[in-house]
Every structure is written in structure tokens, then in C-alpha cells.
């Protein structure tokens, strides 16, 4: 049992009492006075204390768990030192969910799990039960729990040597800088990868992540496979409103390649305004200027699309954490189903499934067989865009005579007439 006496005076610790009182939709309207915002104001209360949401079995066995076992993909059995057992069922979600589904999750929790559920760090939902009968019922329930269109509402899976939920970002559902959509791409890729979601047949965990612009809110930079929205046209500059909406020095400072210079132009109406000009060949489309300045939009139907990076990882298991590497520089936004993205992901996953050793993460496999072999086996063309020319580029130069013959060298040698 965990000792939470130390928290008992924390405001967040007693939220349960509050929760027992039904939501009062008129409270704020009655009590909150915009003229006196500080009246009765509560601030800096922080989040509720986590412990009060734990199932009893967790409270009792906190820090006492002995081991775990996957009964099937998405179903984990935990054993405690105390002899207690707990089963967890993990379900995928699209993360973008409405209160409709949230209420249903509440209902399921009530029905099977003392009312409790949790979300994982990759946006799966987990249900905890303490007996096998309930486990069976829960699984059966979830397997039949579907949307009108036929998709599972809460598909079981996502553990072990398979593909987990795709960490992703807002895309066109909510953000202002995306170069592609997030939710639609995730749906498309996960539909295609579903067989890996609910099975343990890969050589190791494979994490796909997705971010809709280079800000990388999905932090895709250390993922086995990273899907990344990219722009390919420099921002244009709205001379007629830039002074009003931007701090020009901030926009200039935002550019990593110093491509933005201050400028003065005369507008059609004769007014002289301060604005900026972009040295377009120096632009690498990061969008940081737009983040700082609404009058410099980059989004463009033809320019935007998806890049794929691969071979990153986070865990310290066997090998050290590694960055993902740019292997496909651009795929147009094919809507609604992102066919090429799906196809390439599949090629990579299948080549990995076939080629890697047990316990070997995707990037470790690529490093072991060599990137020449990786491109060959994933049937990906190699382009100059994968050759670094940014700050630390030199460290990716190939300063050895060690390389493998591959289709690439075959072709070169054939062309050279050897």
C-alpha cells in the first residue's frame, strides 16, 4: 500500500468528493464575474493526485509487482509479490475521440473494472481486471464493440513484438502549420498494419510516429518509422499585413539558415512598408518563420507532403537511443488514404520482419546489414536528399572502404561498362 498521507492536504488529493457532486453547468455563470476575475478564483491547484484513481489491486501492490506475461497481444497478466494477480487489456484508440466514446469507456470501466481505466504514453486505453472470468467477458465485449462503419472502437493489441499505437499530432484537425493531415494518415496506416497491431510476430517492438510539420510535436525523431509532414515551398510574404501582424526582427531571427532579410517595399497604394524578403534557395522549409509570423504562410497543395524517416529508437535496451534517418524525402499528400505512405511502411515492415534478428530493432537491423542493403531490401530508391548537408553533416560521411555491393553499385558498374 502506498503511503499518501503526505499528500492529504494537497488540494488535488480529494477530488473524489468533488466528483460525487454532479456537474453544475450554471455554477460558473453564477459565480464567475468577468469584471472581478480574482473573486473566488482558485489557481495553481495542479492536477489531481494520481493515487486516488488507482484500482485497489494497484494500491495494494504498488511497487510490489513481480513479473508480467503476455497472454496474447494486448493482454498482460501481472503477478505481485503478495500473490495478487491482475490482468490488463490494452486497446487502440485514435486519440482524437469525443465525449461519446469517453462515456462508453467509462461504462466499460464500470462494467468490468471497478470503474477504472488508464491511458498509456502512446494513447492506448487500458482496462485492469482481477479475475479471469471478467477478463474473458471484457475481451469478448471489446471484440464486438464497433463503430457504424465497421471499425473497432477499442481494438485489443499493441503489446510485445508488434506495432503499437501511432503517436501523432493535430494535422488539419486543429493546427495552423501542418503540411499534411495526422488523423487520416494514422487511420490509413493502422488499417494497413492492423495485422501487426494485434500480433507478436515482429523481431522486436516497432514504433511508428507521426508529426505534421517539422515542429515534430509527435517527437518522431527517435522512432522506428517516422511519418513527417514537410513543406517544399518557401513562405510567401504578405507585404500588406506583415507590419501589422509580425515583429519583423523575430521573424528574421527565427530562420535557421539566415534566409530572411529585412526589406522595404512600396505597396500598390503607394505606402512604403517594412517587410522581409526570403532568399529562396537558402530556405529549407522549416516553417519557423511562419510560427513567428502569420504573414509568411508556407502551406501549399503541391509543395506539401510526407517524408519518411526510419531507424530511430528510444529505449536503452542493448543499443543506445538513436535518431530516425531520412529515407524517403517526399511523398505527395494522397487523400484520403495516403496509399504510397502505406505501401512504403508496409515494404519496410515486411523487409524488417524478414531480415532482422530476434530482439533487433529496425535501426539496429539496418545498421547491421548496412544501409545499402536496407534500401535494397525495402525497395526504396536512394536519393541525394538522404545525404546530409546540415550542421553535423560530416559525421554521416562514409569514411571507410567498407561497403557492400548492392543493386546501386551493380548499376553504376554496369553503366561504367565494367
Amino acid at each position: 500500500m502506498i503511503d499518501t498521507s503526505r499528500y492529504k492536504d494537497d488540494p488535488g488529493y480529494n477530488i473524489q468528493a468533488k466528483l460525487d457532486i454532479p456537474y453544475d453547468p450554471t455554477l460558473a455563470d453564477r459565480e464567475y464575474n468577468p469584471e472581478k476575475p480574482m473573486a473566488g478564483r482558485l489557481t495553481d491547484q495542479g492536477p489531481p493526485h494520481y493515487e486516488q484513481f488507482f484500482p485497489e489491486v494497484i494500491k495494494k501492490n504498488y511497487g510490489k509487482w513481480l513479473t508480467h506475461e503476455f497472454l496474447q497481444s494486448g493482454v498482460i497478466k501481472y503477478t505481485s509479490e503478495t500473490g495478487d494477480l491482475m490482468w490488463v487489456v490494452r486497446c487502440g484508440t485514435p486519440r482524437l475521440i469525443t465525449t461519446n466514446l469517453l462515456r462508453e469507456i467509462g461504462d466499460i470501466s464500470d462494467k468490468f473494472c471497478e470503474g477504472i481505466c488508464r491511458w498509456t504514453t502512446r494513447n492506448s486505453v487500458e482496462f485492469h481486471v482481477t479475475d479471469e472470468g471478467t477478463l474473458k467477458d471484457l475481451i469478448e465485449f471489446l471484440n464486438n464493440f464497433k463503430h457504424p462503419g465497421g471499425s473497432y472502437k477499442l481494438p485489443i493489441g499493441g503489446t510485445g513484438a508488434g506495432i503499437t499505437n501511432i503517436v501523432h499530432t493535430q494535422g488539419w484537425i486543429h493546427c495552423h502549420t501542418p503540411a499534411t493531415d495526422a488523423s487520416g494518415m494514422v487511420k490509413s496506416v493502422m488499417d494497413d498494419m492492423f495485422e501487426y497491431w494485434n500480433s507478436h510476430k515482429l523481431p522486436a517492438k516497432l514504433r511508428i510516429s507521426m508529426a505534421c510539420c517539422l515542429n515534430m510535436c509527435g517527437a518522431v525523431h527517435c522512432s522506428d518509422i517516422a511519418l513527417l509532414g514537410i513543406h517544399r515551398k518557401p513562405p510567401f510574404v504578405e507585404d500588406d499585413r506583415i507590419t501589422g501582424v509580425c515583429e519583423i526582427p523575430l521573424a528574421i531571427a527565427a530562420c535557421p539558415t539566415a534566409a530572411i532579410k529585412p526589406a522595404k517595399v512600396t505597396l500598390p497604394d503607394g505606402k512604403e512598408v517594412k517587410t522581409v524578403r526570403v532568399n529562396e534557395p537558402r530556405c529549407m522549409f522549416c516553417g519557423n518563420c511562419y510560427t513567428m509570423c502569420p504573414a509568411m504562410p508556407l502551406a501549399d497543395e503541391e509543395g506539401d507532403g510526407v517524408a519518411i524517416l526510419a531507424g530511430g529508437k528510444i529505449s536503452n535496451r542493448i543499443t543506445q537511443p538513436t535518431f530516425s534517418k531520412l529515407i524517403v524525402p517526399y511523398i505527395p499528400n494522397e487523400l484520403p488514404r495516403f496509399e504510397s505512405v502505406c505501401k512504403i511502411v508496409r515494404n519496410i515492415v515486411e523487409a524488417y520482419e524478414k531480415g532482422a534478428n530476434k530482439y533487433e530493432r529496425l535501426g539496429d537491423w539496418a545498421a547491421r546489414v548496412g544501409w545499402e542493403r536496407f534500401f535494397e531490401q525495402c525497395q526504396l530508391p536512394f536519393t541525394e536528399k538522404s545525404i546530409d548537408d546540415y550542421r553535423l553533416a560530416y559525421d554521416t560521411y562514409h569514411t571507410t572502404t567498407q561497403f557492400k555491393w548492392s543493386s546501386h553499385t551493380d548499376k553504376l558498374m554496369k553503366e561504367a561498362g565494367y
Partner: protein, 429 residues
């Protein structure tokens, strides 16, 4: 309900089929239930799919009184077509550590959000917050009022401040956890409420806490200050269980490879030979680990959780500086403190936090991430001059290969002022 307007959304509709949960179905079902903004959201998404461009304007600055973060302003750039989402701000709500909830909470939150906003959410945002997507400016204060008074809850971070800390499930469920991840997460969040709500930093700052080097909250990739559990005594070995793995009674890696025939478990091939330091041997029937050589990578423990457990003398390794690529390229966190006890009230750790932040607030440029400051001013400078710690080989993957260290004047006998005359007396020009 009468004036509900469903848009023609053929591409959205296509995203209903297939096994993976369809956000379209979910939104549409909610729309069908009389929530126009869900229809409008789908309509605007469809338009984005046609134009291949977002239809959200560049964010506006909105928020709640006295806070500098927690709300992301958002306006449609096609408000005439989609009036109910003309304003569509999000609120970031600070999640309970490791994201356990009960149905009472979920339902009351749904009641609130249905009333105050769109009923659309992200469970959860990438940083860890509960995200309520879509409400109008005038609902922001009432929502905050509801949250604080009816839930005892609070907003999470956005802007140039501390962001909502996050952690893995740790000891709640995981036998590997060397840290009380939730307790640390909660304590830091409570201690630094002011930093979380009132932007005083050069840019955003993130804490993440993982209970062990498996790093299930991606701390090393996504946090300016990564707190990762480790141990400094020996891996605990249950030799009988080792034999059970060898004998096939126990499934390797807890069954994580169950859907493929990898052949019988081979402890040499699967554990001993894969140990990155080669510090394990089978001595007859006994598995032996030279713990001084172990780098605590977790592999052997992951493969044989019933047989091996982390030690009991636990603490954290602290790393600094992870961030996304803009501007200088992505960074992972860099090892700074190899081992620190994380015991309440975490004073030693908080002293360190003070040093970290004081430096950054003093020296950091506008929009310079903490990791970028370390790079700009130098890792050694940070460790020695700012933290007052000793440099150790563990601070580097390998020593520098260029011969360009800086020397300070006081390190060099005689200093830098020299007599030109003396020099030229010895050396004819």
C-alpha cells in the same frame, strides 16, 4: 436539431472503413447526436483534404486571466462555411500522473465539456495533457472556473513556461521501476506551479520521468530534463527461474514474441551474446553477471523478468536537453548526473533544477531551448561552472577528437600577458 447541417464529406467517409477505430465515425456519430460543430469539423477537414492545406488560421493569443499558457487559440479561415468552429480553441488540462481515471471523473468531465465546448478531445496530447479541443473565447474563463471549482483541476502548460510533466506507469504496474515515477511527477508539478502557468523562461521546458532505462515515456527523446530510473547495486538473480527459462517452462520476454516460431529459447544467443557489455556468463548452471561492467540496458531483465530484477539501491540518471529539430536539429538528452537519489522532498534534485533554470533565464536567448543553450555555451561549462559538478568520462560518448579545448588564463602559468621584448631578446625577428 432541426438546423443541423451535414456537409458532403466523401473523403472523410472513406476513413470509416477498415479495422482501426475511425475518428470520423466517432465525430459523425456525435454530429448525428445534434452537435453541429462535429459536422463542421468534418466539413472543414474535407475541405482541407480537397485543398491539401490546413484551414486553421495562425493561432491567436487567448487564455485565462493570470495564466500565460494552457490554451491554444484557434480560428477557422473559412468561418462562413463552418460557423460553429469559427473559434475553436483548445485547453490543455494537466493529467493525473500516469493517466489513471475513474468513470466518475470521465463522465463529469464529459458533462462539462459537452456543455462548455465541442465534446472533442485528445486523450492525450503528446506532452501528456488531457486536451479539450474546441471552444470559443468566451467559454474559456467559465471552463477554467468549472475545472478549478468542480474538479479541483488545473490547466497544463503552453508557451514559454514549464510544460506539464509526464511519467510512465512505474511502480503502479511495472516490476522494473526504480523510481516512484508518479510521486516525482506529482511533486514537481505541484512545486513548480508558478513556472508552469506563468511564462518566465526563454522557451518551453519539459520534465519526463521513466522508471527504468526502457524509457516508456520517451524522456530521453522528448524532455529538457529526463529523469530515468536506475540502480547501483546488483541485478537480482533467481537461478531457479533462469533454469525455467532455459527449460522452456517460462516464455522469454514474457511472451512478447508469441506469434512466431523463433525456436527454443537459447540463453546464450538471446541473452548472453546480446548483452552490450558481454558481462554475463553461464557458469555451469549458474548465471553470473559482472555488475560493475553492466550498463543497465535492461535487455536480460526484459527477456527473463521472472529470473532477473533490477537492484534495490535505486535512484535516477538525469539527462538534459532533448528537443525537436528546429533550429539546430533534434537533440536527445545528454547524461548529466549519473546517479541521484530521488527521495522526498527531492531537495538535491530541486537544487539542481534551480541551477539549471537560473542559468537558462540568465543566458538563454529568446526561443532558445535548454538543450540549445548547452550546445551554444558548452557541455563542460554547464557541468562545471553552472552546476559545480566534476566532469567525468560518463559525460561523453567518447572524448573529443579535435585538439581545440579552451584554456583559461588562470590555468596557464604566467598568464597570457607576456613581454614582447623578452621574447625578441631570445628570438631575433
Amino acid at each position: 436539431m432541426a438546423d443541423l447541417k451535414k456537409h458532403d464529406t466523401p473523403m472523410m467517409d472513406d476513413l470509416k472503413s477498415g479495422p482501426w477505430p475511425s475518428f470520423v465515425d466517432d465525430l459523425e456519430t456525435r454530429g448525428n447526436g445534434g452537435v453541429q460543430c462535429c459536422y463542421d469539423l468534418l466539413g472543414q477537414m474535407e475541405l482541407s483534404y480537397v485543398h491539401k492545406e490546413t484551414h486553421w488560421k495562425h493561432g491567436g493569443i487567448v487564455g485565462v486571466f493570470g495564466y500565460g499558457g494552457g490554451v491554444i487559440g484557434r480560428y477557422s479561415d473559412a468561418p462562413e462555411q463552418f460557423p460553429t468552429i469559427a473559434h475553436f480553441h483548445t485547453l490543455r488540462i494537466n493529467q493525473p500522473a500516469s493517466k489513471f481515471y475513474n468513470s466518475k471523473f470521465l463522465r463529469k468531465m464529459c458533462d462539462m465539456w459537452d456543455h462548455r465546448g465541442s465534446g472533442v478531445t485528445n486523450f492525450h496530447g503528446s506532452t501528456g495533457d488531457m486536451i479539450l479541443i474546441g471552444t470559443s473565447t468566451d467559454e474559456l474563463e467559465p471552463t477554467f472556473y468549472d475545472l478549478s471549482h468542480q474538479f479541483d483541476m488545473d490547466l497544463g502548460g503552453s508557451g514559454s513556461n514549464l510544460r506539464t510533466p509526464a511519467c510512465c506507469m512505474g511502480k503502479a504496474r511495472c516490476e522494473y521501476s526504480c523510481l516512484d515515477t508518479q510521486a516525482i511527477c506529482y511533486d514537481l508539478t505541484m512545486t513548480f506551479q508558478d513556472e508552469l502557468h506563468r511564462p518566465a523562461f526563454p522557451y518551453k521546458f519539459k520534465f519526463k520521468i521513466s522508471g527504468c532505462p526502457n524509457d516508456c515515456v520517451a524522456a530521453i527523446a522528448r524532455s529538457c530534463c529526463s529523469i530515468i530510473g536506475t540502480w547501483r547495486d546488483n541485478i537480482r538473480i533467481d537461478q531457479k527461474a533462469v533454469q525455467a527459462y532455459i527449460g522452456g517452462e517460462l516464455k522469454p520476454n514474457a511472451g512478447a514474441f508469441s506469434d512466431r516460431d523463433w525456436g527454443a529459447f537459447d540463453i546464450k544467443k538471446e541473452v548472453i551474446d546480446l548483452c552490450p557489455t558481454g558481462c554475463m556468463v553461464m557458469d555451469g548452471n549458474e548465471l553470473k553477471i559482472d555488475d560493475r561492467e553492466c550498463v543497465r540496458c535492461m535487455h536480460c531483465i526484459n527477456v527473463m523478468p521472472n529470473a532477473l530484477r533490477p537492484g534495490v539501491d535505486c535512484g535516477a540518471t538525469i539527462l538534459n536537453g532533448a528537443k525537436a529539430p528546429i533550429l539546430e536539429g533534434a537533440q536527445m538528452s545528454t547524461l548529466i548526473i549519473p546517479f541521484i537519489k530521488m527521495e522526498e522532498p527531492y531537495e538535491e534534485f530541486k537544487d539542481f533544477v534551480d541551477l539549471m533554470w537560473d542559468w537558462w533565464m540568465e543566458e538563454g536567448k529568446n526561443r532558445e531551448r535548454f538543450g540549445e543553450l548547452i550546445q551554444r555555451q558548452g557541455l563542460a561549462h554547464y557541468i562545471i561552472d553552472i552546476l559545480g559538478r566534476e566532469p567525468i568520462p560518463q559525460h561523453v560518448r567518447e572524448p573529443r577528437s579535435n585538439p581545440y579545448p579552451f584554456w583559461k588564463e588562470e590555468e596557464v602559468p604566467g598568464g597570457w600577458k607576456r613581454s614582447l621584448e623578452d621574447f625578441r631578446a631570445r628570438h631575433l625577428a
